[in-house]
Amino acid sequence: MQDFSNILSFVPGGTLLWALFFFALLATIITSLILLYHWIRFAMSPGVATVALLIHSAVSIVLIILMLTALFAL
């Protein structure tokens, strides 16, 4: 039977984590822009959309900072 346990052994652990980080960063930026477009274009109440944008951005930024802190500490 083929052993797949070392399938990612050619990728250094740090590189894999950095790849995950950039993937998450890119996903966050793209999704946030799409959400922002929808809120600006279609939301009936600009106040709710602004609060949603602030909460979304704040939590996303905190999580990205946490990921970066962990990456540099590893």
Binding site: L17, L20, F21, A24, A27, T28, T31, I34, L35, H38, W39, R41, F42, A43, M44, V48, A52, H56, V59, S60, L63, I64, L66, M67, T69, A70, L71, A73, L74
Partner: protein
């Protein structure tokens, strides 16, 4: 954004029932905690061969939370952009299916012939929400809005408005 006419009066403006978004968020929550449960299971039964570093756990936790946070906000946006408006002239149903997939259906109130409500299942019955089906003149397919809170009240408001706009036949 929906622009109403100057003399148009809004009779009902409602989003879907809160249980509709709760159901979707609950599913997202299950997906979010699944890896933690798996990790706990592996750890408790001693299958975990390596001791994970604290910062590694922080990284993976933040990564997973961020991805789920994006999913949660997408669910909320889809919920928030769905809206059902009954005015004294029209019935407007805005349905956001996904990003870049949106349907805005409008029916003139005087064309309404029949209004049906459908309340199916234990949650819909207990929490008081359901679908409303509006049949209009000259259309084979009915106009359907789902997850509407208090559909019986909505039906009553629409029929009262229809009666007031339809001329009484002698």
């Amino acid at each position: 954004m929906i622009y109403l006419q100057q003399d148009e009066r809004v009779l009902i403006k409602s989003r879907k029932h809160w249980f509709v978004i709760f159901r979707e968020l609950f599913s997202a929550g299950i997906v979010y905690i699944a890896p933690f449960l798996l990790f706990l299971f592996v750890d408790v039964f001693g299958y975990l061969k390596v001791e994970p570093s604290a910062m590694g756990v922080v990284f993976l936790l933040s990564f997973w939370t961020l991805l789920n946070w994006l999913i949660i906000f997408s669910i909320w946006t889809n919920y928030y952009l769905d809206i059902w408006i009954v005015t004294d002239k029209r019935i407007i149903n805005i349905e956001q299916f996904a990003f870049f997939s949106r349907q805005v259906a409008t029916q003139r109130i005087e064309r309404v012939q029949d209004v049906q409500i459908e309340v199916k299942g234990i949650f819909e019955t207990l929490l008081g929400f359901g679908a409303i089906r509006v049949q209009t003149a000259g259309q084979e397919t009915a106009f359907i809005a789902r997850g509407i809170p208090r559909p019986d009240r909505a039906k009553q408001v629409i029929l009262e408005r229809v009666d007031s706009t339809t001329p009484v036949q002698e």
